[in-house]
């Protein structure tokens, strides 16, 4: 037997649990089928994933897939500023001086103690009315050369939606940054003070201590929970649908309304989110294992 590895064999308790679960699923399916009298029709779904474009003579993504890609874009784009917020405020949380601690604490407490939905409504109002004009995003897009526009579209998606996507990214990043701040803070504080003492004892300066001793260890501890938080970020991006960011959930709502195939659309969307998040968690697991191997 290989140590540290569970044998994949089912006992009778496992069998009983599985049977019960299957029975429950069968019952729900039966209820939906016979009592709800819902007439399933999956035939419209493929069309809303991809459709044939006569002009371009090729398959192009339709609403659901467009939303899916926007969701991926939102997640990837907001990951960077969110991690940045997390890193900066997280470090500030552990600072010796009061002001940085106060600022970052305020940021974290404000966001953690307001429901995400409410935060996003309030924050969106400020973003769309204040920050976006300030950034001059619309002018930038309008005045861009074709080549420039193409590279912008590669990153942010269709030109008409760029301001929309950027608002979404800022919202999501602000919001997720608070959670990442807490992860980074915990990571830094998990490095025992004795490491600091050892570093100071060989004459390292505060900065060297930080750069050579604390940070490398903190990063290693923080990567797994940050990866988990990233998956949460992907899922939480769905609340951006409420401020009309054209991501998967928003376009799913539109599709559901226009086709009236509510269950089919939402089940498809659930499947898309699941695939994305499950893929990410598998990828992170593998990375983590590889990092662990490299360490020994």
């Amino acid at each position: 037997m290989i140590p540290g590895r569970n044998r994949a064999r089912l006992g009778w308790i496992d069998a009983a649990v599985l049977t019960a679960a299957l029975a429950a699923v069968a019952y729900v399916v039966y209820r939906v089928d016979s009592v709800l009298e819902y007439r399933w029709d999956w035939s419209v779904i493929p069309h809303f994933l991809y459709r044939w474009d006569d002009e371009a003579q090729r398959w192009i993504p339709n609403l659901l897939m467009r939303g899916f890609f926007t969701t991926i874009r939102l997640a990837l784009l907001s990951l960077i500023p969110a991690a940045l917020f997390g890193a900066v405020f997280g470090v500030m949380r552990t600072a010796g001086r009061l002001l940085p601690r106060l600022l970052s604490r305020t940021y974290v407490e404000l966001i953690r103690n307001i429901p995400p939905l409410v935060f996003i409504f309030i924050f969106y109002f400020f973003i769309s009315s204040q920050i976006m004009p300030l950034l001059g995003v619309e002018d930038l897009v309008r005045g861009a050369s074709p080549a420039r526009l193409r590279s912008l579209e590669l990153v942010f998606g269709p030109a008409s939606l760029i301001p929309n996507v950027i608002s979404g990214v800022i919202c999501l990043a602000m919001f997720q940054g608070a959670y990442m701040t807490e992860i980074v803070r915990a990571g830094i504080q998990s490095i025992p003070g004795t490491q600091t003492e050892a570093g100071l004892s060989i004459g390292l300066s505060r900065w060297q201590l930080w750069r050579r001793v604390i940070l490398p260890q903190a990063i290693r501890r923080v990567i797994p929970p940050l990866a988990g938080q990233f998956i949460t970020l992907v899922k939480d991006s769905s609340i951006l649908s409420l401020i009309s960011i054209q991501e998967l959930s928003f376009l799913a709502m539109e599709t559901a309304v226009s086709t009236t195939r509510v269950f089919e659309v939402w089940i498809t969307v659930a499947g898309l989110y699941f695939c994305l998040c499950y893929f990410l968690s598998l990828a992170f697991d593998r990375l983590e294992k590889r990092a662990a191997m490299a360490r020994t």
Partner: protein
């Protein structure tokens, strides 16, 4: 002993943690190449005293002078002082994310400005001295306690300090490993290193120390050459402590 230059001078040092006085008017002079062993019951302030010497703790009254420089709140060259004072902790405190070799090279490259090649040569030399050259490429977590403590000693030695402080370097180890570490410390003493060692290893105190200090409740009760200390201590508390510690 009096002919040698004084390296560390501790004069009337007192320290409080809140209302609690940890150090009471401590006086101690350490000459170059001198080896001092400090012992005393738990909580008597031994760790605090030696941590004040490299300023991991700050004292509130009195003076600590190291090589002519007073350690005070306005000591600007704190890092400069610390690089000249080696410190070995009870729990080793190696950097777990670096290999043993890298642990030893960090100070020389970052603090002393040596090139990687020079630092590496020096690190290997000292790892040889502490008899673990074959562990250089491993991470601390893969070493036994005794090997880790010797790596920690090598890490300090790589800074070529003028004094080495040891805070119960063998207390976290079992007997075989204790011997490995004490052997290394013996070698170090023979090489002429100035050492201040907090330990309850009375064998080490007897054979290596120039003077043994006994601390109780924050003060140094007495500080005598080992012969006198063990055969003829003057204070009742020292006698009691010795009878307890030597009985097992």
């Amino acid at each position: 002993m009096t002919s040698r230059a004084t390296l560390i001078q501790i004069e009337g040092v007192s320290k409080w943690f809140g209302d609690f006085q940890v150090l009471r008017n401590v006086n101690l002079q350490v000459a170059e190449r001198e080896r001092i062993v400090i012992c005393g019951p738990s909580g008597s302030g031994k760790s605090t005293l030696i941590r004040c010497i490299n300023r991991l703790e700050e004292h509130q009254e009195g003076r600590i002078v190291f090589a002519g420089r007073e350690l005070g709140p306005d000591a600007t060259d704190l890092a400069q002082v610390r690089r000249e004072i080696g410190m070995v902790f009870q729990e080793f405190n190696l950097f777990p994310h670096l290999t043993v070799l890298e642990n030893c090279m960090l100070g020389p490259t970052r603090v002393l400005g040596m090139t990687a090649a020079e630092a590496r040569d020096r690190a290997l030399e000292f790892l040889n001295r502490v008899r673990i050259p074959e562990q250089a490429g491993k991470h601390p977590g893969q070493l036994s306690g005794g090997q880790q403590q010797r790596a920690a000693i090598a890490r300090s030695l790589c800074m070529q300090p003028r004094v080495m402080l040891f805070d119960e370097p063998t207390s976290a180890l079992d007997p075989v490993m204790i011997k490995e570490v004490l052997d290394v410390m013996n070698d170090l003493a023979e090489s002429g290193m100035t050492m201040i060692v907090v330990t309850h290893e009375m064998g080490f105190a007897r054979t290596v120390a120039d003077r043994v200090a006994f601390m109780d409740e924050g003060s140094i009760v007495e500080c005598l050459p080992p012969k006198q200390f063990f055969s003829n201590p003057s204070d009742e508390r020292t006698k009691l402590f010795l009878s307890q510690i030597l009985s097992h």
